[in-house]
Symmetry: C7
Subunit: 96 residues, 7 copies
């Protein structure tokens, strides 16, 4: 069982940031608009534009992404929490 | 007797989430912007775009969908409550 | 004497919901964004789009419609109250 | 001396509603977003659309119109109060 | 020394309303969204539309115009106060 | 060292208004949305429109401009404060 | 490891302003909407416009930029804080 997101939404599995790893991306602990990261599990078919066309998303399944902490909504699939967010809420893709 | 939704609206019958099933989608009990799920009973003819065209919806009758808890409006048809929401409020389609 | 609504507005005569009929549409009594229903008495010539075209409405005279409780404005014609609302405020058409 | 309204604005002379006439349009006395009525004295040359074209108005001089009570601004011309409103604020045209 | 307004802005010299003249336009004294009047001293080259074109204004130098009391910003040129407003804030042109 | 503004932004050096000069532009001392003036030091390459085109600005380097008092953001370049504002915030160009 | 920003976002490394250098850009110490500066580390592939096209950004890697103090979100990469902002939040490029 899985979720197929609509339009410009993506399904993200949050990944615990390696907060103590010097060479990794570390999320600050202070409160506020802090980003978070996760792996993309599924992507929608694209964003619907006002001219009627559909623009495919730039993120793909398997991407590790950064997103705003309060972006999207959390649901549980197979007992595991996932995030349903819009591509717009994704700040960037983490590359190695 | 049934409701034919207009434009980008859909009629959804809420489904009680199997909150104790480990392999199913489980909605968290905490308060807030929690998603919910249901079965699509009817869909509008499409979203009206600013260029005058009508874009058919991506959800179809029979789809099991996730949506924001406070999305849409609840009405009763034949003594049974249904939700009238916009496709925009639907987070994704649950696939098996 | 009658009212010819402009653009995407419609004139609706509210219909008392059969709140005690098990097989009919029953509006919940609790407060909030509850829908209501009525019969369409007149429709505007269409919604004006930004490209200058006019899109005819999808509801027609005689349709029984559901709408948001606080949609539109109430006026009296020939001693009878009617609702002037936008098609956008109509949730769906009740079919038998 | 008269006012030539710009674009999608119209000049309206308010008409006292025949509140006690059973067959006429009667405005409810309760407070709130109550409509009112009047006669159109002048209309603008049309609404400017984002594509640069100008769309002529649907109301014309002499029309008796319904509008939202708080629509527009009231000015005095030749000692007589008139309303300057947008066509958008007009709910409909009263026909006999 | 003068001000050349940009785009859809106009320079207006306020004219004291003949409040006691029965045949002139008289501005009510009560507080609120009351219109005012003035003479157009200069007009911008036109409103920039989203399609990249520029639409010339409908008011011209010398026009006597009505505008919302709180529209625009007041500056002093050559010791005389003028109003810099958008054409959108102008309710109409006073014709004789 | 200088700042090249992006898109529809301009760099402005504020000019003290000659508040006591009868023939100059004098800014009123009262609080509120008071305009101010300055000289344009640099202009962006143009405003990006939704159709993808770029519209060059109407103000140019050397123009003396009026702008809203709270428009833009103040930064210091070479020890001197300048204002970074959008062309939209400029009310007009002062001509002699 | 690095972040590839999406669409119109850029990755910026904040640079401490030389607040005591007379010839450098000095950020005022007072509170409010104060700009800040930094070096662009990465840029998105472009802003998605409503007509479906993608417009490449005007800032490039290596640019020294000014931005609003509260723009974007701060994350840590390799133990170093960077800012993820939209090009829209960038006031200008500092040139020497």
């Amino acid at each position: 069982m899985s979720i197929r997101p609509l339009h410009d939404r993506v399904i993200i599995k949050r990944i615990e940031a390696e907060r103590t790893t010097a060479s990794g991306i570390v999320i600050p602990d202070s409160a506020g608009e802090k980003p978070d990261q996760g792996e993309v599990l599924a992507v929608g078919n694209g964003k619907i534009l006002e001219n009627g066309s559909v623009r495919p998303l730039d993120v793909k399944v398997g991407d590790r992404v950064l997103f705003g902490k309060y972006a999207g909504q959390t649901v549980k699939v197979n007992g595991e929490e996932v995030l349903v967010a819009r591509e717009e809420d994704i700040l960037g893709v983490i590359e190695k």
